[in-house]
Symmetry: C2
Subunit: 898 residues, 2 copies
């Protein structure tokens, strides 16, 4: 027989804290607290397995559940010497949800269950407080009707308001017992009117109604949304805890409250919390009355005049202090504690790890290590890597009032305000006059990069989390909101409209790249400030992790930022980004429109010195750290001019007609550029392009090596390889260039030639490709596009629908799809290393900065991840957590992944 | 020690006919003929392994080769009692190439090797014919200089002409021994002039020079091209056969000739061939003298007055007849025999299976079965499936003189002439007036389909073998030349230019879809005529093959054609092709521009009856055979109007503004439509579209089943699935529609819901997808695109370069890439069948009609292939050949493929 029900109470419990998966966080902790001897109202927990069974069997509960609940209920009755449904001596219970992970306020709760017209009188007699009894009864009817019977609570609120008007009073507490008796009758009549049947008097019927309602609430829309936001699988299910009621609202020697063992906002090690005299828990949450501070210190900090609990209930406060210390010491984490004081007796209703801000998480973790409470490994585990984004970027002042006009995708974190401009050129010229600008485009292209550099932030109305705008902005560490679909942009009139507001060029907008919000006008921001605690956590993470962390960077600024954040090399330098500068783009275009090899070589000769000096700068900054340089990747048409003026300029420089340029553009146009003539296909068709790039790399490396102490070993990376033969040919080209440069300069150097694995075929053929590749870098962006057959530029139109329908749990461009793309990576890693033992492998897609994806990279034994500079700290922390999560035995190469 | 050399001669041989891979076709057959006791001049063969080693070691021959050659040469000397290089009694040899597969005329040959100023005198004495000796010597110098020394032969031809002018004679044979002696001296002087060194006198140097030249000729451009055209891997290499010379030019009792044991053009069982008195083999090939017929019957057929060999050399002729019968009986195939008569003695120089036309191949195979010479399995193996295209489509009269103005890709076989038009509308209206038209477009789109239907053939200047034009034309069985890159099309002036010729609308063009030729003016064509022999071969193939053959078809005409050619069902009915008719496209567009579900349903309701009647027609024609219907696949923007008039029409019908339509078009525009919002993604976003299609299918099937004897079991296929969850949802939608239709009609029927596997992720997740799919159809077109990351619309710009550089052996859109795409198919098949035992699987991409790909499908145990109707006979034959090639044991499911 499956055990569906776990009892607790009176210093005993069938459950334990480590049974969260089965009992939910709440149930497990109640059991644990009971075992610790803390004053916990007795009760029992129905397991999460019941929830799963309920959904698997068309919302039928297991047959043997009711007898197990009956037994557990009898135990509570014996413990408290009361009886469920007994008019003379009634037991009242709460029925609450409790999932494995905390989902505050997302699911339903019923309090005061067990009251009916008979037991309410017993409660009045026992408490000697008729008003309290009927107030509890009317609250119960109100809550039960809402949660279980589905009658909207506004009906009851209106009736309560009417009653107060009739009685000419303002506060609920001013209503008398008689008023409340009338209200109870009116409430019950309303239920009958709405449902056509009576409010249930039978306490068993009440109990099972509430249990089912909690299970049903697991799948309500707000719970579904919360789970999606917090990566909680719906398969976990919720437990239901049925617990005897204690009352904080039986008089002025009663109270209810919430406390944190440390400050959840700053992490400061001081007891913190709020309470209300003569109230039930829901009153604290509802925000109708202003809660009071628990400590005198807290009261002073708030500037409040209401007495602290330390003053009003000093004995209870002392008990609470003893208990909180015991709890924090026991759980070795900051606790969020709910308590009730009934007639001066303290009851602990719940404890759990408290939610905290990112700075608080870091401070608490570091201090707890210093206090000897936890190990540095534990501290590293405690900080959510994703939360570091809050620390690295400016954030909006939370106190500011804002007018949000649209919400797009949070494409690149941080916040920025500025004057709206609609072209890269305007962004650049305004910025040159020291104006702060927000660049607004329908979507961006490589031609906009100089404008993106000049802008404070970027807003696009199209494109997803890995659109051009998003990827480039993240690389630059600039805030970006992409795919703000309700923003209509008109380039002709230089205006945008959203939510009925029209914004003209020169007006001020603020974007919050961490939330996707587009806000009218300027909003004050708070600048990031990296604490010593942050540095300490990073140092611990570095001592634990195995994966090397590199950055995707091509500009000197990117490279310097990457090093500041602790990058151990460059994993992806996208050389094409170096061709968009005003002086270079013309030479690049000359090359493209040239008729023959000779013409192309002439134009490439102009690009060579510029490209070489780029690499000199980059190698100098990186000072001997590995630098992986990807040769030209995008299709040539991305570089072609669009405006008449630009076309004329190129025509003049190349000595051809504008018509010839138009013809060339139409020749190069592609139906699906993502799958077109790009990557190494360009290197095969136009060997001279890769030759020039290789020459620039070798010459730059030799120049730097002649001066620098740390020698650079450039890693030349060929994109979009699909077969060993391609790489064999291109490696031959590069090796030949190396020999030529060595001969010309009289110097030599070490270098590696490797490839991106970014096509399914490359993953499958990795064994052959590894014959010619000295390293693999998994280009997970393109590999995701081809494996799924989804263009990231076009995915926005349906990926949201896919998420809403539960077809995908995560955007595969944000979090690596382990089942599909991941299997290909694992296959490639295994086959590659079979050919070439100990081959260096890493990933350089956007996923390189995603904690779950980093975990996967560790699991299959990659050597490094490379991500945008601002995600380097996240990656360092996530890599350490991966080692801790996997355990020593699993942190070895390959094969187990699939 | 590796054996590099195999001797033959005097009734003995070290080789055998089945050693073709090692000795080449020529060497193996010479050895075999020797063993058969036929009169073969003795010699030896250097193996193909030497060729491979030669290329693997930077053109160095194996060290121990020379001693092996020496030994073999000694054997020839002993056998003939002559000596290589001995002035008194010289051995002369020929040095010839011989690859595993015949490559006639592609590689180099040297004859008369062993002559120098001394041996030539020995030859003169021995033959008692000084003129013959010096003629042989000048031929040798001429040939050796050209082939080995790289001196262009025109130099020698000019000198020969000069000499004839000096002597005032017309024919070579009129030159005297003295003249030839002078010529020899002049030739040698020329060599010295060109090379700066003497023509080699040393016979060993001559021999090794020639051997290397033959190996080098393996990689000459024309051999490379030939191999590419005939799918011969360059890794096979060529053998070199060194054979003692016999002379057909020593006088009028000498001759040389070529004979076929049956007529290679018609297949008729009659001896056929040509010979020349007093000539060397090269004279027959060179075409300088007109050869004479071997048989009297042949002479009469040609209307020739020159005597047949049967008359001029009756004894030799009788020997030849005996030998040809022996050879055909031995090899059990039509033989192509080369012979020389030296002083009335017949020598056989070569025998091999003769090349033949497709009709001849079929006739010979069928008749040889009847003669008891071969089995029906052998007959089925003998016919090249690809050659059937010649039989099924009209071909150009080979006698016609043509002016070719460009050569594009042979996208859809057959030939057609017609008036040039530049739009689908013009094609339709001209065709309505009974004009034959060729539709010329830069590329075609689904909007052009009605024009393609109306046209005799289609010519495009862009797009590859699987471009829209190519795929649709093959489906229709219409000739198509695609990607004719030198044809510049100007829609505005309605002209095209190519090779300096301008063709206006109304001018006549001819296209040859079997060769890719674009020809000016009209060319007479020959209509196909399917023989009884063809039917017999097909019947034998059907009795052997395991794979079912279906057709890709959606129109009644396609379906009827498919059945005529023996299709056993429809494997792919592309429903979107049904939406482009004039009356339908407006409703389709209304649906697309509709703002909400209601608007879409309204428009879909108009399409429902049309779609239903399509299916009624299709099901009726297919009479109970399986019909797989793919639900809507292309992105919606493909259906949107482009012209102002079309936009206005839709705006009116949908009750919206033209601006709203433009806005919708810009909303739907995609950067990479291939990877965009299409396939099942449409079904997920707009369930009502697939609901309408499912309803049409079920209603049509019920209507047909109520009348027909054979019940249709529709197979509904969901495109572009990437996960099980997608299919679960869509199968749910379809099952719900089925229930509704069953309820409404009071009837039920059986149906299947399955999916395309056309994304790498679908292949990897096939195990999960099979939980919901009742069949898999591998969409190898899209799977190739995503696995390679190559858009077939854009691939033309680099795939040719890839072929030229040997990166790919075949266009992966024509022949399935077994290493990459094939592995994914094998993985999917295995995982799918693990979930669902015996699951039905097939392929429906363009590869379904390619023999090598069909072989692969058989190997991994698929159930069927589906191809365009005109390829059905090819597929039937190829499927039978696959069974024969694999052998019984391999023709079982799965797993061995990778």
């Amino acid at each position: 027989m499956t055990k569906w029900v776990y009892s607790f109470g009176d210093g005993n419990a069938e459950g334990r804290a480590d049974m969260k998966n089965l009992l939910g966080g709440k149930g497990a902790n109640l059991a644990e607290m009971c075992s610790l001897g803390l004053p916990v109202p007795p009760g029992f927990t129905i397991t999460t397995e019941v929830c799963t069974a309920y959904y698997d069997h068309h919302k039928e509960l297991p047959a043997d559940l009711s007898s197990q609940v009956e037994t557990a209920l009898r135990a509570v009755e014996r413990n408290l010497k009361v009886e469920f449904g007994n008019p003379a001596n009634p037991l009242l219970v709460s029925v609450r949800s409790g999932a494995r992970a905390s989902m505050p306020g997302m699911m339903d709760t019923v309090l005061n269950l067990g009251l009916n017209d008979k037991t309410v009188r017993g409660l009045a007699e026992k408490s000697n407080n008729e008003r309290f009894a009927y107030d509890s009864y009317r609250r119960f009817i109100q809550m039960y009707s809402d949660v279980v019977l589905g009658i909207d609570h506004y009906h009851f609120e209106e009736m309560l308001e009417d009653k107060k008007q009739q009685r000419n009073v303002e506060l609920d507490t001013e209503l008398t017992a008689e008023d409340l008796k009338e209200l109870v009758a009116e409430f019950k009549a309303k239920v009958k009117e709405e449902l056509g049947q009576d409010f249930p008097d039978d306490v068993q019927q009440q109990l099972w109604g509430a249990v089912k309602a909690v299970f049903n609430s697991w799948m309500n829309p707000r719970a579904n949304t919360y789970r999606k936001l917090h990566d909680i699988p719906s398969s976990w299910g919720t437990a239901v805890t049925v617990q005897s009621m204690v009352f904080g609202n039986m008089g002025n020697d009663c109270a209810t409250g919430v406390a944190f063992t440390r400050d959840p906002s700053t992490g400061e090690n001081s007891f913190y919390g709020e309470y209300l005299i003569n109230a039930q828990g829901e009153d604290v949450v509802a925000g109708i009355r202003t809660p009071q501070a628990i400590t005198i210190k807290g009261k002073e900090k708030n500037g409040s005049k209401l007495p602290a609990m330390e003053e009003s209930l000093p004995a209870v406060y002392r008990d609470l202090v003893t208990i909180y210390k015991k709890l924090e010491g026991h759980y070795r984490d900051m606790q969020d504690i709910e308590f009730t004081v009934q007639n001066s007796k303290l009851w602990i209703l719940q404890t759990r790890s408290g939610k905290r801000t990112a700075p608080a998480a870091i401070k608490i973790a570091v201090e707890m290590v210093k206090e000897g409470l936890i190990s540095k490994e534990e501290a590293v585990k405690r900080v959510d890597p994703a939360s570091l984004d809050q620390l690295l970027h400016p954030t909006l002042d939370p106190k500011a009032k804002v007018q949000i006009i649209d919400k797009g995708l949070p494409a690149s974190p941080g916040a920025a305000s500025g004057i709206v401009v609609f072209s890269a050129e305007d962004a650049e010229s305004r910025a040159a006059h020291n104006e702060k600008v927000i660049l607004v485009r329908i979507e961006t292209s490589p031609e906009d990069i100089h404008g993106m550099h000049a802008a404070q932030g970027i807003l696009t109305s199209r494109g997803g989390m890995t659109s051009h705008a998003a990827v480039v902005a993240r690389g630059m560490g600039k805030p970006c909101v992409s795919g703000a679909g309700n923003v209509r942009i008109n380039y002709a009139t230089k205006t945008l409209t959203a939510s009925g507001v029209t914004v003209k060029e020169g007006d001020v907008l603020t974007i919050n790249g961490s939330t996707g919000e587009v806000i009218l006008g300027e909003v004050p921001t708070i600048q990031p400030n990296l604490s010593d605690d942050f540095a300490q956590i990073m140092a611990w993470a570095d001592s634990i992790r195995h994966l090397r962390i590199r950055a995707n960077a091509e500009t000197p600024l990117d490279a310097a930022t990457a090093r500041k954040f602790g990058a151990e090399g460059i994993g992806l330098c996208r050389t094409e980004h170096m061709f968009f500068d005003a002086e270079r783009i013309v030479a690049m275009r000359e090359m493209i429109v040239a008729d023959d090899v000779k013409g192309r070589k002439l134009a490439l000769a102009k690009l060579l010195p510029m490209q070489r000096s780029d690499f000199v700068e980059l190698f100098t900054i990186m000072a001997g750290l590995p630098v992986t340089i990807r040769l030209l990747d995008p299709p040539l048409h991305e570089f072609l001019p669009h405006t008449e003026a630009d076309m004329q300029e190129v025509a003049k420089a190349a000595g051809v007609t504008v018509d010839a340029i138009r013809h060339r553009a139409s020749q190069l146009a592609e139906s699906n550029p993502m799958l077109g003539h790009r990557g190494c296909r360009l290197g095969i068709s136009y060997a001279e392009i890769y030759e020039m790039q290789a020459q620039a790399i070798f010459e730059a490396a030799i120049e730097v090596n002649q001066k620098a102490a740390e020698k650079v070993v450039p890693e030349i990376m060929i994109p979009l390889i699909m077969s060993g033969k391609e790489l064999e040919i291109l490696k031959g080209t590069i090796d030949a260039v190396a020999q030529t440069v060595f001969k010309a300069t009289g110097a030599t150097l070490d270098y590696l030639v490797g490839t991106m694995i970014e096509l399914p075929r490359a993953a499958l053929r990795a064994g052959d490709i590894a014959n010619y590749a000295e390293f693999f870098s998994f280009g997970t962006n393109d590999l995701t596009q081809t494996t799924f057959g989804i263009s990231r530029d076009d995915a926005a139109s349906f990926l949201q629908t896919y998420k809403n329908k539960g077809i995908i749990e995560h955007d595969p461009f944000v979090r690596l799809d382990e089942e599909g793309v991941g299997e290909l990576i694992a296959i490639a890693a295994e086959r590659g290393r079979k050919t070439r033992k100990g081959m260096k492998m890493g990933i350089c897609g956007e996923h390189g900065g995603h904690p779950a994806s980093i975990h996967f990279c560790q699991k299959i034994g990659l050597d490094y991840v490379s991500c945008s500079p601002y995600r380097v700290p996240i990656a360092r922390l996530a890599a350490a957590q991966a080692v801790l999560a996997l355990g020593k035995s699993e942190v070895t190469p390959l094969a187990k992944a699939v």
